[in-house]
Amino acid sequence: MDAESGPTRRGEWWAGVRALAPMLLGVAPFGLIYGVLAVGAGMPAWLACAMSAIVFGGASQMILTQLWAAGTPAAIVATTVAMVNLRHALYSATIAPALAHLPRRWKALIAYLLTDEAFAAMTRRLGDDPVQRRYRHWYFFGAGFALWSSWQLSTLAGVLVGAQVPRHWPLDFFLPLTFIAIIVPGLKHRSHIAAAVTASGLAVLCFGVPHKLGLMAAALGGIAVGMLLLPRQSGPAGKERAA
């Protein structure tokens, strides 16, 4: 009670917003491009906006849009999107101990807001001492909310812009360009490059496979090759007689 200078709910919330703010420079153009892509692919504007609230994940929304535009069956679209977002399980596992003491509604809220960028902001506070930790969940909320609201707004802006763009412009090329911008900086090891190249090759080979199932096969093949080329970890897990 004496901690006049200690953290407050409001202060923590704003700290979260501030931590996320620099990342908005990267996020807003993505939202804009997604909105333009969705409208360009013929998706009704209200559905394009609804997706940003329902799925709330940049790359996966663009994938859903592309598969939908290609006439892919519903079950395969949903499965592919889920697979793209599987990496969020890592974030969930990382952040879980910091939320363990909170009421269920807080867990439900932070889980909904757990995107790549928000997670990056949240990890900065995982090493807090007990005093700093008191209202830390408000920091998480602030970071997540800042991203969420700018994602919805930039999507809306993209939808409005997209409706004005002449049909013959190659807007669909924004998708490969966006994904190149995401993939390439993440290729830190030859195993990552091998995964990307293998997946690309398999995707071309399997192009004729019905219902875009070749996409899943290509991704799994790329992941498998990447894992094979990864150097053995020196941690206890790598020492197991798994090979």
């Binding site: 939908w68 969930s92 993939i183 071309v204």
Partner: protein
């Protein structure tokens, strides 16, 4: 696919995504991811996103199209080089799109 069907697909994909994000939070971190699965997850973005765009760049009308007349392939390679050099999302997208627009007027 009707708009309502599309909404249904979004709901399914959104629910799956939410449950993935909630998974370990819901069990309060008492369950751990197996090490091999953790390793596999780091390759998901590169493999999945590459698989998705490779046919856009390398093929045309369902046929392999590796050549200088494939403007999208050249623009894609330019974007990859820019991305590797600058690590900037903005320059990658701007450079790739500019290349495509220039090539399309030339070819």
């Amino acid at each position: 696919m009707s708009p309502w069907m599309l909404l249904g697909v979004m709901a399914a994909a959104g629910l799956a995504t939410y449950l993935i994000r909630l998974s370990f939070i819901a069990v309060e971190g008492k369950v751990r991811l197996p090490a091999w699965f953790r390793t596999a997850l780091q390759f998901v973005p590169a493999a999945m996103l590459s698989a998705l765009i490779a046919p856009d760049l390398l093929m045309r009308d369902g046929q392999l199209a590796i050549g200088l007349d494939n403007a999208r392939l050249i623009a894609g390679v330019v974007a990859i080089v820019i991305a590797a050099r600058t690590r900037s999302i903005g320059w990658t997208i701007a450079g790739g799109m500019a290349t495509l627009l220039v090539l399309e007027t030339l070819i």
